[in-house]
């Protein structure tokens, strides 16, 4: 283990006593953690000013416990609700949620929508690997139509949820989607998400060769990355494409980047207004 401390500069952001990670070889989680650490490094954010909240599942482990900050590893699906309480208590800190598609968009879907609607200033990095990895590769609300999983052994007959599009429609200030094959764009988007005042979501399409790829003719991590690259369509190009043409494709890029009144700021403004009206 010691050699990694001289070899990888980003390792200074990791909780040494929690290493090595529990992630499988070839997992996209490492790329996400690396991209997040690089974003923090480039923005020169002190990790003492970050609180990372996560739910349950493989992707929930990416930053909690491995990222060296205050970390809150919560119940399944509820990370964003916990993070809302943290942000109210610590309005001047960066509150980040890193968790998976099953956690944030399935059981936690309601919290995701309402945090976006309220426009709470938290940054959500949603790792979408199309599958429930930790529980053994069951179908998720993001599993592609027709894919094979342990609970869809014949084929998936449900349609996947378009997370980034949905959260953008719910009212988030910043929404982007990239894949683990677009690392530099991903880092830039995480930086933008962190510095955006308001709710921001970065959806990362990520490979799970062990639970998803293996059952869908992409056993090797590199095969999955090639699949991402081949099927990624930049958002500007996608605008001129029909729904049929976009079937099974990954629309990547920035979906929204806008300013709206932010929840915690408005809450504190309201308190100041009420208190000053009492003085009079």
């Amino acid at each position: 283990m010691p050699e990694i401390y001289s070899k990888y500069p980003m390792v200074k952001y990791l909780r040494k006593e929690a290493l090595p990670t529990a992630l499988c070889p070839g997992c996209g989680g490492g790329t996400v953690l690396n991209a997040f650490a690089n974003a923090i490094d480039q923005l020169k954010i002190d990790p003492r000013d970050i609180v990372v909240v996560s739910g349950i599942g493989c992707s929930a482990w990416i930053a909690s416990p491995y990222f060296l900050a205050d970390t809150l590893h919560t119940t399944h699906g509820r990370a964003i609700a916990f993070a809302t309480g943290v942000k109210v208590g610590l309005p001047n800190k960066y509150v980040v949620v890193i968790s998976g598609d099953g956690d944030l968009a399935s059981i936690g879907g309601n919290h995701l929508l309402h945090a976006a609607r309220r426009n709470v200033d938290i940054t959500v990095i949603l790792v979408n690997n199309f599958i429930y990895g930790m529980t053994g590769g069951q179908v998720a609300p993001t599993t592609p139509f027709g894919a094979i999983t342990t609970t869809t052994p014949y084929r998936n007959i449900e349609h996947p949820l378009k997370i980034a599009e949905t959260v953008a429609a719910a009212g988030a200030s910043y929404v982007a989607r990239w894949t683990t094959a677009h690392v530099y764009q991903l880092i830039e988007s995480i930086k933008k998400a962190l510095t955006t005042k308001g709710f921001s979501l970065v959806e990362v399409i990520s490979q799970c060769p062990v639970q998803f790829g293996r059952r869908n003719k992409m056993k090797e991590p590199a095969e999955m990355l090639r699949w991402f690259l081949k099927n990624s369509i930049p958002i500007n190009k996608a605008k001129n494409m029909s729904e049929e043409e976009l079937e099974g494709k990954f629309v990547i890029g920035e979906f929204v980047n806008r300013r709206r009144p932010e929840f915690v700021e408005e809450l504190n403004k309201l308190i100041r207004d009420v208190q000053s009206s009492l003085v009079r």
Binding site: R15, L68, L72, H73, T74, A81, G85, V88, G89, Q275
Partner: protein, 396 residues
């Protein structure tokens, strides 16, 4: 590190906003004012009858004292947000009723496991399911105790009047802070909507407790240790550079997960139990009336305690040697005292607005030669003095 609501100017502010004196108010409002006096500065909730007036009062009053009111998308989000807020140093409360309380159960367990001080008010209504939404009941006695999964201790208090609701809410916060644990207030729909006179005290009369914070870097590095031997670890708050890791999974003293080692789980869960067992003096509270020479004992809690007292007073006038025992902290149940009292009486009556819940706790502590009888009424109408008196006469 700070616990908000602790600032000296708060006393002056409270005194100015809520002039000491007598007020006429609802039980739900008394809970809300009790919370504000206890230092609660964060409320997250979801409306549900008959608890909604607590939320409405908090929404109106909290901003005046610099506190935060959040109406979340559901009860699960509400308790989650409270736990997040508590780790930043805010005293947090939510209020709900039966169905909402059921939804909160998983995160009550999370608060137990992560030793997060929060207060959950359950304004009990009739069930199961939607039941009678606007009516009161006492059917959540065991949901409070055993609603969440796993081996866990829980502290639950239960007020008997509107004024008592004010003080018991304050006591719930003090217990939560002292023991770093979630505390349930088992209130009910009848008292919640009853209007009575209550005295709002001067804020200086109210004893307020704040959680133990780490004294040094070393203590902060062990957020789940036991440096003082009382089972209660100091709580390193988020945002102070301690890099604290908090998880509902089995964890070591430093907070890091270890879900494989039997000994680690055993040590953690037993300490969480021991912290409650060892600190009985912090939470145990009951009231006794005429128990010295009683041959018959009435044991009653919450909304049923007052008609019980009425019946005991009437029976005493008739020369019946009957006493009353009212547990104000219902979990952990004051079994030792019940055992003592049970030795000297021949009959115990347990009036409650359910089909027999607390009576099972009483049963655990009394011998078979004591006649044990429940007085049970359901359907949303409280027990009357006459109904209880009739049963007392019946066992004479």
């Amino acid at each position: 590190m700070i616990i908000r609501g602790d600032e000296p100017e708060q006393i002056e502010l409270l005194r100015k906003l809520y002039k000491p004196g007598n007020y006429f108010m609802m039980g739900d409002e008394a809970v809300a004012y009790g919370a504000i006096f206890a230092g609660c500065r964060f409320y997250a909730g979801y409306p549900i009858t008959p608890s909604s007036e607590i939320a409405e009062t908090m929404a109106r009053e909290l901003p005046k004292v610099g506190g935060y009111y959040l109406q979340m998308e559901d009860e699960i989000a509400s308790i989650a947000a409270m736990i997040g807020a508590s780790w930043t140093g805010l005293k947090a409360m939510t209020a709900t009723s039966g169905p909402g309380f059921s939804l909160m159960q998983e995160n009550i367990g999370y608060a137990v496991m992560t030793e997060t001080p929060i207060v959950i008010v359950d304004v009990q209504r009739s069930g199961p399911s939607t039941g009678q939404a606007t009516k009161g009941a006492q059917g959540d006695f065991f949901q409070a105790r055993w609603g969440t999964h796993g081996d866990h201790p829980i502290v639950a208090v239960s007020p008997v009047s509107v004024e008592d609701a004010f003080w018991e809410t304050i006591r719930a916060f003090n217990i939560a802070e002292r023991l770093r644990t979630p505390v349930v207030v088992l209130f009910d729909g009848i008292l919640a909507h009853t209007r009575e006179q209550i005295r709002i005290p001067d804020p200086e009369e109210v004893e307020i407790v704040y959680r133990k914070l780490p004294q040094n870097e070393e203590e902060a590095k062990l957020p789940f240790g036991d440096p003082h031997g009382d089972g209660v670890p100091p709580m390193p708050l988020f945002g102070h550079g301690y890099f604290t890791h908090v998880t509902g999974s089995t964890h070591k003293e430093n907070g890091l997960r270890d879900v494989y080692t039997q000994e680690v789980h055993d040590r953690l869960v037993r300490r969480i139990h021991r912290k409650i067992e060892k600190n009985k003096h912090v939470y145990e509270k009951y009231e006794e009336y005429y128990t010295d020479d009683a041959e018959i004992l009435v044991v009653s809690w919450g909304v049923s305690a007052r008609p019980s007292l009425g019946a005991v007073l009437r029976a005493r006038k008739e020369g019946i040697k009957v006493g009353l025992f009212v547990p104000k902290t219902v979990h952990p149940f004051p079994g030792d005292r019940i055992r003592e009292l049970g030795r000297n009486v021949r009959a115990i009556l347990v009036p409650e607005m359910n089909l027999g819940q607390m009576i099972l706790e009483v049963q655990r502590f009394v011998n078979d030669d004591v006649l044990l009888k429940g007085i049970n009424k359901i359907g949303g109408i409280p027990l009357t003095v006459e109904e209880i008196l009739k049963e007392i006469r019946g066992v004479v």
